[in-house]
Symmetry: C2
Subunit: 385 residues, 2 copies
């Protein structure tokens, strides 16, 4: 594989974009990335999206967006791995450039969710789970995560309030991210009293859906000369792995084996250890997932994830800063776009563009995007270099 660099980034605010169509939303992030890179020609487009067939009645988003942004003639394709679609599309773009087949790829993650009512969205999100053996039994996606969280609390003796620091940190960081959906700080008391969704998961354990798009441009690293005032950002590691699609099929439902495997691969490829990661944009779709991700990726012992939050280690300045731009919890979770938001946010940190939540001297950042309840996990490590 030849090394690749990420040259331009773009994103929309995560919001209820009733004034923008699917094509306008995705196009905005693409144009933003192209402007950031001062490039207007790429050889291929990779789109990450989960729900457009169900929500927008639109398939074939490769050609769809290629047409909209004026990439006629070029290669374009959609990659789907449920909520892991964004990073899956990014990895496809990386492979295409790394193989030598193309010289530049634009990757966009996009999702327009708020045009449908809540029960439609709940049903659509459940397509990430096992239709035959989970969904047909009546369990929703949040329901599956609630069962995992209940079991975790039982096994390791944590109280619900012990997860509060994860959400508090995400909301605090989002205050300084203009692209975040939720701009409101929360307290432990609010966390405890929030409306119940699926016990023990309440509204402040869960990430909000939203409309959003984020994009980045991948090129061969050797072609990137330094941009004044900006470091060169290269891909150091990339790993992708799967687990059983149904949680009940796992020997240990409290261990994200695909997160472990994909992170291991990314660490090996990058030649780094967890201790060298300056920030970690993880997939906090629910607060329990923050704990499980930190454990699977080597930042905490099994069953000890919440300790990092309680000890203030996940805040900017802590040992392992997470969700530095708000995470899924407060930046928002436009499912197929989320993985690309994470990539964009890691790059913002490595460029030093994060002001109040800037991680000092950030040189190596990691992003981990999860599809389903840990079924598909992609980990990317980016570095200044």
């Amino acid at each position: 594989m030849r090394q690749v660099a990420i040259l331009g980034i773009g994103q929309t605010k995560v919001d209820e974009h009733w004034d923008k169509s699917l094509r306008e939303l995705g196009g905005e992030a693409c144009f933003d990335a192209m402007q950031d890179a001062a490039m207007n020609k790429m050889e291929a487009l990779f789109v990450g999206n989960m729900l457009s067939p169900l929500i927008d009645g639109q398939n074939q988003l490769g050609a769809f967006f290629s047409d909209w942004i004026g990439f006629w003639g070029h290669e374009a394709v959609k990659v789907e791995a449920a909520c892991g679609s964004g990073a899956a599309a990014f990895r496809a773009g990386v492979m295409a450039v790394a193989s030598g087949e193309i010289e530049s790829a634009l990757v966009v993650g996009v999702e327009k969710m708020t045009d449908k009512a809540g029960h439609d969205i709940t049903a659509a999100l459940a397509t990430a789970a096992d239709a035959d053996y989970e969904v047909d039994q009546g369990v929703s996606f949040v329901g599956i995560n609630a069962l995992v969280m209940r079991r975790y609390m039982h096994e390791y003796g944590w109280k619900h309030a012990d997860f509060a620091p994860f959400s508090i940190n995400a909301h605090a960081n989002a205050m300084h991210n203009p692209h975040a959906r939720l701009h409101m700080e929360i307290t432990t008391q609010q966390f405890e009293k929030s409306n119940m969704v699926a016990t023990p998961i309440n509204l402040l354990d869960a990430s909000p859906i939203g409309d959003g798009a984020a994009a980045a441009i991948i090129v061969p690293a050797e072609k990137v000369t330094s941009v004044p005032g900006r470091p060169r950002i290269v891909l150091a590691g990339s790993g992708s792995a799967t687990d059983t699609i149904a949680v009940h099929s796992r020997k240990d439902p409290l261990f994200l084996s695909a997160a472990y495997a994909s992170a291991k691969r990314a660490y090996e490829m990058a030649g780094v250890t967890p201790q060298e990661i300056d920030l970690f944009e993880l997939h906090d779709a629910f607060s329990i997932m923050t704990a499980l991700s930190l454990e699977a990726c080597g930042f905490a012992e099994r069953g000890q994830g919440p300790r990092l939050g309680l000890d203030n280690e996940i805040r900017p300045g802590g040992r392992v800063p997470v969700c530095t731009r708000g995470g899924l919890k407060a930046r928002g979770h436009p499912v197929g776009a989320t993985g690309m938001y994470q990539i964009v946010e890691v790059i913002q940190q490595l460029r030093g563009e994060c002001a109040e939540t800037q991680i000092q001297d950030a040189k190596i950042g990691m992003a981990q995007n999860i599809g389903g309840s840990g079924a598909t996990v992609l980990t990317h490590i980016l570095k200044v270099g």
Copy 2:
């Protein structure tokens, strides 16, 4: 890019598989390919599928099939480009192996369509078109192709019967393919009198849907030592290109510019001309598409595609044999699987396994898979070598 070889192939019959679930159907083709290659471990799985979110309520087919076939821990992802999904997944697998990132990829195209009623399928297939500017105006997918065919007949003066040889050839060839959905020879008279679908497209201009799955295994070419009695099949060329998603946006709705561009790229990469192609598995979703594909890929002059049929040039033994295993028209068109059926069929020809429809001394075969009405087109050239 390092060169890749295709080592194993597998497929199910295209049929109404009411006795098989989506996972069983796709799994069957995967196991068939693994048995054919005498391999049981691959490093990644790429799935081509268009309709499972809409028909089966199932997303994340990468993890879904990886789980079913026992590939726990490995990378797995779905690629979607409407009816071009199969070849798009194949190209993703090629890139991943060609980049050096992985040493083996299993690619499966799978679609289970017949569990839903016809009007549901018509609506689902329309997601390949432009939801905002085509489908919302009330046009179906066959309706779009009917407009193109009517215009073509008007521009170039062809009668409907002039397209008969395309369907007659496909049906005749399918008689000898045990995996084909339709085993019935047809005559020009039957072609002319068939039930109208969307004038001028009648039932014998149109390919039937179906349930089906086809798979292949990709490995670095240098790792393949010759198998006794079997030639080594390598990828010679691969091209992927897009056009506007809506047909009405094209300057010339009668020219498949993405078919032209993707074939051009594949020819250049393979270093061959159309004259050197021994057989061409093209995307005959409708008879008009056969004419347009032959023209865009350099086998006929503009407007002269039907001449090749009338002159018997497309039959086995002709100048450019097409649909040698029945094509979409008679093998059947399980949309997201079709591109992989084409790859599998080209390999069967290059291996000399096609008995009555075997192309003598076939050394170079081409497969072209189309998403939407020419919006996404992927062309692959395989050769003995």
